[in-house]
């Protein structure tokens, strides 16, 4: 969707490139003119750098949030929940329902058994290490099959939990942010001590905000008799739709199934307000930056009327003057863009968190400034250069030859 | 009668890094009240520098200057500014009017430095504009005026505070012959009729001819003084 923004760039840049190649005003003239007015150039470039940096960071935030929800699903897996429960937290699945599901013919199997995991999803409160008090975090009880079914989760330290013991494994992202979550430490929950036996990395997906343990242990601790959901994998991904239909149609079960990818993308709505806010901020700042760039370029043109008149007298055509000043604006803004993209790097790796409005539990993610995002930032500055430079360049092209004679 | 301007051993050098470039080297000059002097000489002779020193907008590196009864070396920058406001009127080659102010407002500018009230300022401005014959153009902006008219506004501005001395740097340099003639006639009137002391720097021999005394400078030194006697003048 953001690519729609960049579409008008292509023909504009194409024309500019053609103008530059076709003996137009030499680009070195523009480059050197920029440096003749050092303060103006540097300060405008600095302002653009700030806007681009914010743009890149905000998009990284936006991506991080989407990623945290979307990449959590596989196209050949389905989540089975209580009908209309919407989120795992509010769902419940009885033991006999689980038994019925586990023998469904469409499910996949591997060497260890059927790929179906009955799971329990609860919220507990943990104290943050930054002194910010208690925060709700999600705890997932799962069966060993559940670990096998989530390929994006890798163990980085220690070992997986023993499903018959009171043990927990934690995401690397959370280990430092909450008290008692380091490997070897333990937390107290529902009257039991749970030692942390392993640390995992879920690649930025939703599972990076969950503590994992064995489902039976969790249910015992929480005195629950019913699971929350079940995660299943289908032997043939093409049969996913019919599996969902069958579950829906089965009146005994009163359950519904969703493709895992769908389940998580529905959750993305929770992150939408932040994304909207971020986009709004960027849009507003861009406007401000374009005004600033326009101002600088108008000044540049006004100060060089004699030069421009001379160029015309020498034989350069109006459209070539237009292209030339457009290039100058581009160079100015791209300088700022590159600086801004590099500035954004300072945010790379910073961990932050927000709350999932459905479950009120912590969702952590890290700012990841990828080369792709930086390139987007630079492209954005090119857009600003084109927008901000056009009118002044137009003005420059209209300056009559006679100006060359005036002082 | 005491001369209004007394220069003793005036020297001025510019420094480019460690290099000293002398422009004026030990000049003596006396100008009587009501004098009309033209400073002339080739480029680099120091005539503009001398004008600047006398006008109080530059300081000599050596020597003393007494103008209008004040030792300029004894005045600090702020005092010098106040002194200029009272005693000095400036006329430039390029008029240097403020483009966003009307003719009236341009002439009023120096009066804002005084404690005069609005009505008094208005009276003075109108009087000055009347003197330069531009009462029908008080509301016009510089871009709406011809070069000659702009210079006349500048002259009105220069005299509105009733200074004793007028300094002019190439006042006719940007004007055509007819307007130049008008401006010079005006200056003569200011000198003859109102007793203003006028100091002129010019290349233009016709303009110089309007002065009573021509001072020729060569390489920062006074070369010769020429008295101009014109039959049409006493």
């Amino acid at each position: 969707m953001a690519w729609a923004l960049f579409l008008p760039l292509v023909p504009a840049l194409g024309w500019l490139a053609w103008a530059a190649l076709r003996h137009a005003v030499p680009l070195s003239y523009n480059w050197r003119s920029l440096w003749q007015r050092k303060t103006a150039t540097l300060s405008t470039a600095a302002a653009i750098a700030v806007v681009v940096a914010i743009f890149v960071v905000v998009r990284s935030l936006s991506q991080g949030i989407s990623h945290a929800f979307v990449s959590s699903g596989r196209a050949d897996q389905a989540v089975v929940l209580r009908a209309n429960s919407r989120v795992e937290l509010n769902s419940s699945l009885e033991r006999d329902q689980a038994r019925v599901l586990k023998v469904h013919p469409l499910l996949a199997r591997d060497e260890a058994g059927v790929l179906a995991s009955a799971e329990c999803y609860v919220i507990m409160m943990l104290d943050r290490t930054d002194g910010g008090g208690g925060t709700n975090v999600a705890v997932r009880g799962l069966e060993p099959a559940g670990i096998r079914m989530r390929g994006q989760v890798r163990l980085v330290q220690g070992r997986w939990f023993n499903p018959t013991l009171w043990e927990m494994v934690v995401p690397r992202r959370m280990a430092g942010r909450f008290q008692g979550l380091q490997l070897g430490q333990s937390i107290t929950f529902a009257g039991h001590r749970w030692p942390i036996v392993g640390v995992f990395d879920a690649g930025g997906s939703a599972f990076d905000s969950e503590l994992w343990t064995g489902v039976e242990q969790l249910m015992q601790a929480r005195k629950r008799d019913a699971y929350s959901t079940m995660l299943v994998r289908l032997a043939d991904p093409g049969r996913l739709a019919s599996f969902i239909q069958q579950v829906d149609a089965d009146k005994r079960l009163k359950l519904e199934a969703k493709a895992e990818t769908d389940y998580y993308s529905e959750q993305t709505e929770a992150g939408r307000p932040i994304q909207v806010l971020g986009n709004l901020i960027t849009a507003i700042l861009t406007l401000g930056a374009i005004f600033a760039a326009m101002n600088t370029m108008y000044s540049a043109v006004a100060g060089r009327t004699a030069e421009i008149g001379t160029l015309r007298a020498l034989g350069f055509r109006q459209v070539e003057i237009l292209a030339s000043f457009q290039w100058e604006a581009l160079m100015l803004c791209t300088m700022g863009g590159v600086a801004g993209a590099l500035l954004a790097q300072a945010f790379n790796g910073i961990q932050t968190s927000t709350v999932n409005f459905q479950t009120f539990s912590d969702v952590s993610f890290a700012f990841t400034i990828t080369p792709g995002l930086m390139a987007q930032g630079v492209a954005f500055s090119v857009l600003m250069g084109l927008a901000g430079g056009f009118f002044p360049a137009w003005r420059a092209s209209r300056i009559p030859v006679t100006e060359a004679m005036n002082s | 009668m005491e001369p209004i301007i007394t220069c003793r051993a005036i020297a001025k050098s510019y420094y480019r890094g460690a290099l000293e470039i002398p422009v004026l080297q030990g000049l003596d000059l006396e100008i009587p009240r009501g004098g009309y002097y033209a400073l002339m000489g080739p480029s680099g002779s120091g005539k503009t520098t001398l004008l600047n020193l006398i006008a109080g907008i530059d300081r000599p590196t050596g020597g003393t200057l007494e103008v209008c009864g004040y030792q300029l070396n004894d005045l600090d920058d702020d005092q010098l500014a106040g002194w200029r406001a009272l005693h000095m009127g400036f006329i430039f080659q390029n008029y240097n009017l403020v483009p966003v102010l009307s003719a009236f407002e341009n002439v009023e500018l120096p009066l804002l430095l005084t404690t005069l009230g609005r009505r008094e300022r208005r009276e003075r401005v109108m009087a000055a504009l009347g003197l330069v014959n531009l009462l029908d153009r008080t509301g016009n902006y510089p871009r709406q005026l011809s070069g000659g008219q702009e210079q006349r506004v500048a002259i009105a501005r220069a005299i509105v505070t009733e200074p004793e001395i007028l300094v002019a740097d190439e006042p006719t340099g940007a004007l055509d012959a007819k307007n130049a003639e008008e401006v010079m006639a005006l200056l003569e009137h200011l000198n003859q009729g109102l007793g203003k002391t006028i100091l002129l720097v010019t290349h233009d021999p016709k303009a110089a001819h309007h002065a009573r005394v021509q001072i020729h400078l060569e390489k920062g030194v006074l070369e010769k003084t020429v008295e101009i006697n014109r039959p049409d003048r006493p």
Binding site: A53, I281 | P110
Partner: protein, 385 residues
């Protein structure tokens, strides 16, 4: 202020430049004003003066755990206590998830005594009707207006946490000081208890109204001490503290917003300084002429500074005006996605800060180039012809 026309006209020297600078400034100030006001609005929830007399009792471990209903009896016996109400967050959906609003199951007879400040404009008979009707509910005016509900309308809710779909009849519509308080629905706790077996004798929170705000800390201690060793221990806190916990869950928005604010202000400063530097450099000759005429360096500096400050002030006011004009739109848009922001209002303190910031930008950005210009020898300015 005889120099005012001079200062003002100087800005009109290049109308385009002045306009672009004002626009640039205005846009940035608008952003800062809106963002900081968002923070301020959220903050005000944790500092609600009306909440001074109220506190919340919940399960010590997690807000999602339940407390025994009988705790309410003990709480009512405390001498400082004026009223106690069991409240359970229901979290039901009306038609579509996007129509989100807060809905709670409460003990109906205590609703008005506890929320005296928020639930207003209901008559005694309406309250009686609510208490008498097991499937009745009370809604806020703003909520009713949004969906076109009236007294007697039946509102079906779809439970998400609890697997029931209650059909509630509106028995009263109340008005509040804050719009966000009116976006709420309260129905009978007994109805929930009857329909959901595991809620029998259990409730999520107790809201307690205390006679005097000074009694709150003491009461908190006593309550938590009393239930310390129970199977369901309690955590009591003031209502403001309770709200603050929710806000903190929003994450580090404060830091992000402050960072963006600082970055934007820095950018404004740089851009304005550059503009002023450009302007002043172009006026080198004019500055020299003024000084020749007799204006002291300080006077010229003052004129230039006044110009810079006036320019920034215009930009600042433009930004504030824009923020004021769009406040309603912001509230409508962001208010639906982030429930607390349905009360979004520009904060007076924020607007003042923005004005001060722009004035500071004006002063700082003009000072250096103006000071340098005034320090230069007069003849240098005149020579540049």
């Amino acid at each position: 202020m005889k120099y005012l026309h001079l200062i003002w006209r100087s800005l009109l020297r290049s109308r385009r430049r002045t306009l672009l600078t004002v626009l640039s400034l205005g846009v940035s100030v608008f952003l800062v004003a809106t963002l900081q006001s968002i923070l301020g609005t959220l903050d005000s929830y944790a500092h609600n003066p009306d909440s001074a007399n109220r506190m919340v009792v919940r399960h010590k471990t997690s807000i999602t755990n339940l407390l025994p209903f009988r705790y309410g009896d003990w709480l009512r016996q405390q001498p400082e206590v004026e009223a106690v109400m069991g409240l359970q967050w229901f979290g039901g959906i009306y038609q579509d998830q996007r129509n989100f609003f807060a809905n709670f199951a409460v003990e109906p007879e205590y609703l008005v005594p506890i929320f005296k400040e928020e639930v207003r404009g209901v008559s005694e008979s309406e309250v009686r009707d609510f208490i008498r009707d097991r499937t009745g509910c009370v809604v806020g005016q703003a909520l009713a207006d949004k969906f076109g509900w009236k007294l007697g309308t039946v509102v079906p809710l779809q439970g998400t946490i609890f697997p029931i779909t209650p059909r509630l009849t509106i028995r009263a519509i109340f008005r509040s000081k804050r719009a966000s308080d009116e976006m709420a629905l309260y129905f009978q706790y007994k109805h929930l208890e009857e329909s959901v077996p595991r809620m029998q004798g259990k409730v999520g929170t107790f809201w307690v109204r205390v006679r005097s705000a000074d009694d709150v800390p003491r009461l908190i201690e006593r309550i938590d001490h009393h239930f310390r060793d129970a199977l369901e221990p309690t955590l009591s806190e003031t209502e403001n503290a309770f709200q603050l916990e929710f806000l903190k869950m929003l994450g580090d928005y404060a830091t992000m917003i402050h960072t963006i604010t600082a970055a934007v202000l820095a950018a404004i400063l740089i851009v304005t300084a550059s503009t002023m530097a450009m302007t002043i450099r172009e006026r080198a000759t004019e500055i020299a002429v003024f000084r020749a005429m007799g204006f002291t360096g300080r006077q010229v500096l003052g004129l230039l500074m006044a110009e810079g400050v006036l320019l920034s002030a215009m930009g600042g006011l433009a930004g504030i005006a824009l923020a004021v004009v769009t406040a309603g739109a912001v509230r409508a848009n962001v208010g639906t996605s982030i429930p607390w922001l349905s009360d979004f209002q520009l904060q007076g303190g924020t607007l003042l800060f923005c004005l001060q910031a722009t004035l500071a930008v004006g002063v700082l950005s003009t000072f250096i180039p103006a000071y340098q210009a005034v320090r230069r020898p007069i003849v240098e300015g005149l020579r540049s012809l």
